[in-house]
């Protein structure tokens, strides 16, 4: 089935004119129609528009388009509903933006279009990217394709599901505290978070500006390298975007990791780490060692403070970024007798409980009298966490950890206890605080039920090539990434 193939495979077939983009797109649309009643990954889908784009792609191919210049030509890709595409909805899974249509393209959307991608549908998420299960969507939860009673992770849960269930060939999500890597692990696909600033945030609806990054979900590491290539680069419209040139990421996939030094942080073997997850990760590390990597125990001493730091810094930034939803220029408006009442009623009606929780917490930690004790202190602890990684990367080339402490949990299991939900981000969160890059690759399954387990590989700033190379070598000598759910 064409929708089950990778970008790499499909580009080869398109080049040889063995298949057409319309055939590939139709295969994805058919799968979406069949699977969506059970998965609910897509908030919006326009099949006619998708096929029209595919027709344009086929015309371009017939006229001799160069796949080197357009490496995604004809490939159906879906975007988390937090990334702007002109004329498309941009709800962020929130009632406050339920009817909003984006007037412009995000830089990454522009890059995808230039590369010839077919942009299909809008993917569900936790509201305003706040959550770890996609249960915080105002429009219903998305199901994990390996067990429909379980969550796919979040906040980019549906971006992982759409790829894992072969509804699209690749997708984009965003990662602020693990929101790409964690769902990738729970759904059994590849998820990549670039170094902060590697990919432009212009057109990404802001949650926490010093932590947010856009990244790809794919079926293979090679595809992740291809997607990363297309979306990376400096952008004058994002003043935090980096100026360093973008290497050809696929060239890093040499298959050779002899002598690569991998660090295992001793603080990551925590209470609450599922024994099957621990076993799968230790086996993966042994496997990497058999491929020639050197394994070293390292220490990230401030690991225990990462979640607390994150939930002060991220919520503070979120309280500022979400101040714009005031019912005036766009979105939901609930009338009031004066502007203040209009704002409070609009935001009261439009924001879901998790968003309210985080905006209020963020407001508090920035407020007069509390700023020093909370926000300033958290920024200083953030420095200590960054320094932990800097010191570690003097001794090792990459750090390996489980991506999540457990496999996918059941829907409703953690919604009553926000703090419990926050603590499940323990392995992914410090990477965003430090600005480092990270990838999750499938490394096994729990026995019953049969649920994916992810291996996380963290790299230093600009360490994309290193972690891609390690992940690729692991993937090519194992078969976990080829597994697909039999549930639907």
């Amino acid at each position: 089935m064409l929708n089950q193939r990778t970008i790499q495979e499909l580009i080869q077939q398109l080049e040889k004119k063995e298949v057409s983009s319309q055939e590939i797109t139709q295969a994805c649309l058919d799968r979406i129609q069949a699977a969506e009643p059970k998965l609910h990954a897509y908030l919006h889908i326009d099949p006619d528009d998708a096929l029209a784009q595919a027709e344009c792609a086929d015309n371009a191919i017939a006229k001799g388009a160069d796949f080197k210049l357009q490496p995604l030509l004809g490939i159906p890709i879906s975007l988390k509903d937090v990334i702007a595409v002109r004329g498309q909805p941009l709800t962020c899974a929130s009632r406050i933006l339920e009817t909003f249509r984006s007037p412009y393209d995000a830089t990454v959307a522009h890059h995808l279009k230039e590369a010839g991608a077919i942009l299909v549908g809008r993917l569900n998420m936790d509201e305003f990217a706040m959550g770890s299960s996609t249960e915080n969507s105002a429009f219903g939860r998305t199901s994990n394709p390996w067990d429909l009673e379980r969550i796919p992770g979040g906040s980019s849960g549906a971006s992982a599901v759409a790829v894992a269930a072969d509804e699209c060939i690749a997708s984009l999500g965003s990662d602020t505290g693990g929101s790409i890597r964690q769902p990738a692990a729970l759904c059994g696909c590849i998820g990549f978070k670039p170094t902060y600033g590697r990919v432009s945030r212009y057109g990404l609806v802001a949650f926490a500006s010093s932590l947010d990054q856009i990244g790809p979900f794919t079926k293979t590491v090679y595809d992740a390298a291809t997607m990363l290539q297309v979306i990376s680069g400096n952008d004058p419209r994002d003043s935090t975007s980096l100026r360093q040139p973008v290497p050809v990421y696929t060239k890093a996939l040499t298959g050779d990791i002899k002598g690569v030094r991998l660090g295992l942080p001793k603080e990551f073997m925590v209470e609450g780490l599922d024994p099957e997850v621990e076993t799968a990760v230790r086996q993966a590390v042994d496997h990497l060692q058999s491929l020639g990597a050197e394994i070293k125990e390292i220490s990230l001493p401030h690991t225990d403070y990462a979640v607390a730091t994150y939930y002060i810094v991220a919520t503070a930034e979120a309280s500022a970024n979400l101040a714009r939803y005031d019912g005036i220029r766009y979105g939901l408006r609930v009338e009031g007798k004066d502007p203040n009442e209009l704002y409070t009623k609009t935001r009261g009606a439009g924001f879901g409980p998790e968003v309210k929780r985080r905006v209020i917490l963020g407001t508090y930690v920035l407020s007069s009298g509390y700023y020093d004790a909370y926000y300033l202190r958290a920024q200083k602890v953030r420095t200590l966490i960054r320094q932990d990684f800097q010191k570690a990367f003097e001794e090792v080339d990459a750090i390996v950890t489980p991506t999540t402490p457990t496999a996918a949990f059941k829907a409703g299991e953690k919604t009553g206890d926000p703090l419990k939900m926050y603590l499940s981000d323990i392995f992914t969160i410090s990477c965003n605080l430090a600005g480092n890059c990270g990838i999750s690759v499938p490394c096994g399954f729990t026995s019953s039920p049969n649920l994916p387990i992810g291996l996380q590989i963290l790299g230093p700033h600009f360490g994309e090539e290193t972690i891609l190379r390690i992940a690729h070598a692991y993937e090519q000598s194992t078969a976990w990434h080829k597994e697909r759910t039999k549930v639907l």
Partner: protein, 95 residues
């Protein structure tokens, strides 16, 4: 510093978010839990540590002060809940 009882109504007003009485109770309790948890940052000695505001510091990012193409007026108003004469309509601010 000792953690005081969180005044949910005061902070919700600062955040311009209206909460129902049930929400005030639930969120207030959850805030106390979360603030209790983040107290652990007080354990650390940060007296010699500079704060990090930027994950990847880039400085002096400027562009020439030149006019360029921008969004059309119509496009900017397209999602507005209420407009008049090509302007956003807001409730009266000054009596």
């Amino acid at each position: 510093m000792a953690q005081q009882e969180f005044d949910i109504r005061y902070v919700a007003n600062l955040a311009r978010i209206q909460l129902s009485p049930e929400e005030q109770e639930t969120l207030g309790a959850q805030m106390n839990d979360i603030l209790g948890y983040v107290q652990k940052l007080q354990e650390l000695d940060v007296s010699q540590v500079d704060p990090t505001a930027h994950a990847m510091p880039v400085t002096n990012v400027t562009q020439p002060d030149e006019p360029a193409e921008t969004m059309s007026h119509e496009n900017a108003l397209r999602n507005a809940p209420s407009t008049s004469n090509g302007l956003f309509l807001v409730p009266k601010i000054v009596e």
